[in-house]
Symmetry: C2
Subunit: 371 residues, 2 copies
Amino acid sequence: MKIGVLGAGQLGRMLALAGYPLAKDFVFYDMSGSPSAGIGETIVDPEGKQLDDFLAKVDRVTYEFEHLPVDVAEKLAQHKPVHPCPRALAVCQNREAEKTLFGRLGIPTPQWQIADSAEGLKAAAEELGCPVVAKSVTEGYDGKGQAVLKSPDDAVQAWDSIGHPRVIVEKFVNFTREVSIIAVRAEDGELAFYPMAENIHHEGILRYSIAPAPQLQPHIQADAEDYIKSLLNELNYVGVLTLELFETPEGLMANEMAPRVHNSGHWTIEGAMTSQFENHIRAVSGHPLGNVAARGVSCMINIIGEHGDIERILELPYAHVHLYNKGERPGRKLGHVNILADSYEELVWRVKNCAQFLPGCPEFESSLTAN
Amino acid sequence: MKIGVLGAGQLGRMLALAGYPLAKDFVFYDMSGSPSAGIGETIVDPEGKQLDDFLAKVDRVTYEFEHLPVDVAEKLAQHKPVHPCPRALAVCQNREAEKTLFGRLGIPTPQWQIADSAEGLKAAAEELGCPVVAKSVTEGYDGKGQAVLKSPDDAVQAWDSIGHPRVIVEKFVNFTREVSIIAVRAEDGELAFYPMAENIHHEGILRYSIAPAPQLQPHIQADAEDYIKSLLNELNYVGVLTLELFETPEGLMANEMAPRVHNSGHWTIEGAMTSQFENHIRAVSGHPLGNVAARGVSCMINIIGEHGDIERILELPYAHVHLYNKGERPGRKLGHVNILADSYEELVWRVKNCAQFLPGCPEFESSLTAN
């Protein structure tokens, strides 16, 4: 079976690495002009003229990024199975649609309003109570197109910096930590939920994911599973879905979802019985799902901007290095390291030991290191 | 770094799958005319005319099978680092040279003699005492070119069936079980030894490998490490080396070695901290070695001839499926399944449960199932 992947970055690369052992082949379709998957066949097509060639080569289609035109996905779906469905893409591309769906399915979110002018933004900030976060409704990615308003007076400046005709304004959530849940749904509706991860961001980029999330109360995992299950079933979704959430003293609040394998699930490569990548390929290909149980405890550390001293990291007996074979550039995701341990206590010092070889890696501050 | 692999079968495929996460690229050189790696670039060159092209494309050279002309490897080594060294190839291609080296290094073997005629074979059989095993000195693979003599009178028939001008005659060893040790040596001489595996063959083909080998006395593992260490150092070897041995009540006896990753080490993909494939790539690339410790207990089951009911196997929560994307053919290695468990007791029923979905898979008879 040949799987077509829209996008050709590191997520596609890792999907392929997980798919070859299941006898899948891969064709990547790249519109960026700078594919980095480095594996399988890649059609580079910045002008969008070779979609028919791509379609003719593949049996099924999936994607590794959600900023793909929905009409392209819909066109493809007329000819070949496209998983996840284009509707999932449409929802994920629009924060208003996403938050509306969350609300309709009973998934708690921060309070939010829509603004389509600087005045509207100011009014929303006043009504919700500052601080608020304003985000463009579409095309946001990794902290771009966002602004924090500490006061309604920041509205004009925030509006200008976002530069988008429609923004969603969200009340700031006083969260304990950021977490995510990754789940997978098979073609026959079978579901599987990975243990949640605790995610540590720095300058808008994910730096660490600890899984299973330490000190997580069982009802929190159960709530997250209920939420993502309702999304998966509502969308008749096939493949891996990620839901990012805030954990607060009052429970979980959904932040956003991603219709794909996710950076906060990279720990699953060695840290779970079946990786998120293999499970996505299984689902997309119509196979039964694999076991999502954790193997020990894990922490994923992102390699951002510079590779650091990879040779030293390769010497660590508990570290698994995953490089994307990309050139160094500030803020760029170049790879990740999965740290394994039998206990969280052991995990903490192993993570710190590894992080010292990664320049610019922020200090490991998590629920494990909090006093 | 681009690694050139001589041979393009499933071992090369799995080397590449382990090497991409270390930012390696792969070029395969195939002389068989039927490459099956299915990944990376493949130069198909049955007439041996494109070796220069291959060399020009790669930074380092390794191989996935040992039946490569030694002069080809030597020629390559004049231009690019070739790991393991051509001398290792030469030794492994000649059972007489191999057994001679074993003897010189103090590695016990079954008693053996050389014969270059039917009469010589008969005399050797008489002197060693039947049963004996006669094998062509060169070009043996997976039980081909071998014959068992139950009596010296079988000599003429055995000689004719082998059809080779020079054979090695080995006294039959009354072994308890077949085992193997896989070790890896880095460019700087660093060594690492995997836990030994117990191997179960059927009709001359490996069917099951259990690792770590159950009920193995520590001094047996220590002996095997001493033996393979002396080979690695003697050959100034870089990469993964496999030594197949018989375990007898009197200790270990070496059977043969393979200068490459080995079927009896496929369990390491999920069953060890670092797979044999990754460690071979690390060594060949000049990196430090990875941790070879086992993760729980494992059994590798080969998929031979027919794929069987893969969908049912994919449902098993303790099974990892590795397919080579090859067509079915009697006796052909099509893939393998790694079964993981926390105890040998658990492992036994899991293996039996999986094997029922593989037609032609012999019953699981091992030290774990012996009364």
